[in-house]
């Protein structure tokens, strides 16, 4: 099942050139970028692993692409996303976050029901690999 999370998720996967252009857009806006990866794309899994520290004071997208490439070769079968953080006052939040790598075989989700007191049912979603 194709995971749709973050910006551009409903578009076809970006080429490296397109990723670079998006990264340059972030840099031109003064947003530091961070690279994160995970093997569990569950919607509640908010905090992915960090690939190094967020990258500050960088002007050129090529430097970030080098890190994306390095992360990809280390975790080819993980989800990898690039997040741009807008630290300006009044915003101070992730401004852009998009997936740049996904495994060949994507996991699916299954719905789980939990019997509870008085015939109540609770539902949860579980990642199925």
């Amino acid at each position: 099942m194709r995971i749709t999370q973050g910006t551009f998720a409903y578009l076809p996967d970006f080429t490296d050139e397109e990723i670079k252009a998006q990264i340059q857009y972030c840099l031109d806006n003064g947003w530091p970028l961070a690279i994160e990866y995970t093997d569990d794309p569950h919607p509640r899994n908010t905090y992915w692993e960090m690939w190094g520290l967020p990258m500050f004071d960088i002007k050129d997208a090529v430097a970030i692409m080098q890190e994306v490439t390095a992360c990809r070769s280390a975790f080819p079968e993980h989800y990898i996303r690039v997040a741009g953080y807008d630290r300006s006052l009044g915003r101070a939040t992730t401004a852009l976050s998009f997936i740049v790598n996904r495994p060949a075989q994507e996991p699916t989700f299954e719905l789980e029901r939990l019997e509870f007191a008085d015939r109540q049912v609770k539902y949860t979603i579980r990642t199925r690999r």
Binding site: M55, I58, V62, Q66, E67
Partner: protein, 317 residues
């Protein structure tokens, strides 16, 4: 803009390309704002032409290796190495050699770590920051400390050498420092010497050039010398140049800073109503109070510290 098929007889308008690159504006600025430094300016103009021609050749599908533009700036303190590096970054950007054209200044501390395994990430971080621009390594010879064989500087040098060769299009490295010490540094690291195409030496300024620099600085900060003050400042510079620790344009700037201090002091002591001219004006007395005139050899502290008032007025104890 780039022609798909270029015939043998095709022609490109060199003048138009030159205008388009906007580089003349930068070169004019360089000419106007940097006094002297003739060999440096000549070399910069040559590099600009080289890049312009390289770009036109590319348009004509005459492929060739992109030129290596790593440089070394040697010269005594205050001869304008950092200033020129900043201009160089802009020029390279306008000619499309680097993508962003910013200048990242690094010294040994920014590149070399404190313990095993600390150097590589530090150097890598700086290289990432400099990608698309110019990496300016001030006093580069400190990277190499032959007296300590466990020094981590060598690791930084090796990383630099590698990226200078492999990522030539990503950034330009400029090494700067005193001439003699750079020469020993290059002798110990021949790899650096051969990877650097342009060795530019910054000559010391002549007295007239220093005076011109001073005039420019004074004008730019909205001050003005009167005729006597100008004369006094010329005498001051002539004296100062013969003394130790003379750092060319930087000494001029420091002298002007101290003159501004004395001018402010004089105005405050004077009190009362004050005109715009008086706020701008530097008088001979502001210049002549300097210890350089009182036969005081410019020791380190006269250059870097504000001398106590008693010592200014009473001469040397």
């Amino acid at each position: 803009m780039i022609e798909e098929i270029v015939a043998e007889s095709a022609q490109i308008d060199l003048d138009a390309a030159y205008r388009e690159s906007n580089v003349q504006v930068l070169l004019d600025e360089l000419e106007r704002e940097l006094i002297g430094l003739i060999p440096v300016k000549t070399r910069i103009r040559e590099i600009a032409s080289l890049l312009l021609v390289a770009r036109l050749r590319q348009q004509m599908n005459l492929s060739s290796e992109p030129p290596t533009l790593h440089m070394s700036f040697t010269g005594r303190p205050g001869t304008g190495k950092t200033t020129v590096a900043m201009r160089m970054a802009k020029i390279l950007h306008h000619l499309g050699y680097v993508r962003k054209g910013h200048l990242v200044v690094a010294t040994r501390d920014d590149l070399v770590g404190q313990y095993v395994g600390h150097t590589a990430p530090k150097t890598k971080e700086m290289l990432k920051k400099a990608t698309g621009g110019v990496l300016f390594i001030d006093e580069a010879y400190y990277l190499y400390r032959p007296e300590n064989e466990r020094d981590y500087g060598q690791e930084a040098i090796e990383m630099l050498l590698q990226v200078m060769e492999n990522q030539r299009g990503d950034f330009v490295v400029i090494l700067a420092g005193y001439k003699e010490r750079m020469a020993t540094f290059f002798q110990a690291n021949p790899g650096f010497h051969s990877r650097i195409a342009h060795h530019i030496d910054f000559p010391d300024y002549a007295l007239e050039e220093l005076i011109e620099i001073a005039e420019l600085m004074v004008r730019r900060q909205n001050y003005a010398f009167d005729a006597e003050a100008r004369q006094a400042f010329q005498e001051y510079l002539a004296l100062r140049m013969t003394q130790p620790h003379f750092a060319n344009a930087r000494s001029v700037r420091n002298a002007l800073d101290r003159i501004k201090l004395r001018q402010a002091n004089r105005l405050v002591r004077q009190g009362g109503m004050i005109s715009k001219d008086a706020l701008m004006g530097i008088e001979a007395a502001d210049v002549r109070q300097s210890r350089v005139f009182q036969g005081g050899a410019a020791s380190i502290d006269s250059e870097f510290l504000v001398a106590p008032a008693a010592r200014i007025e009473g001469g040397k104890p």
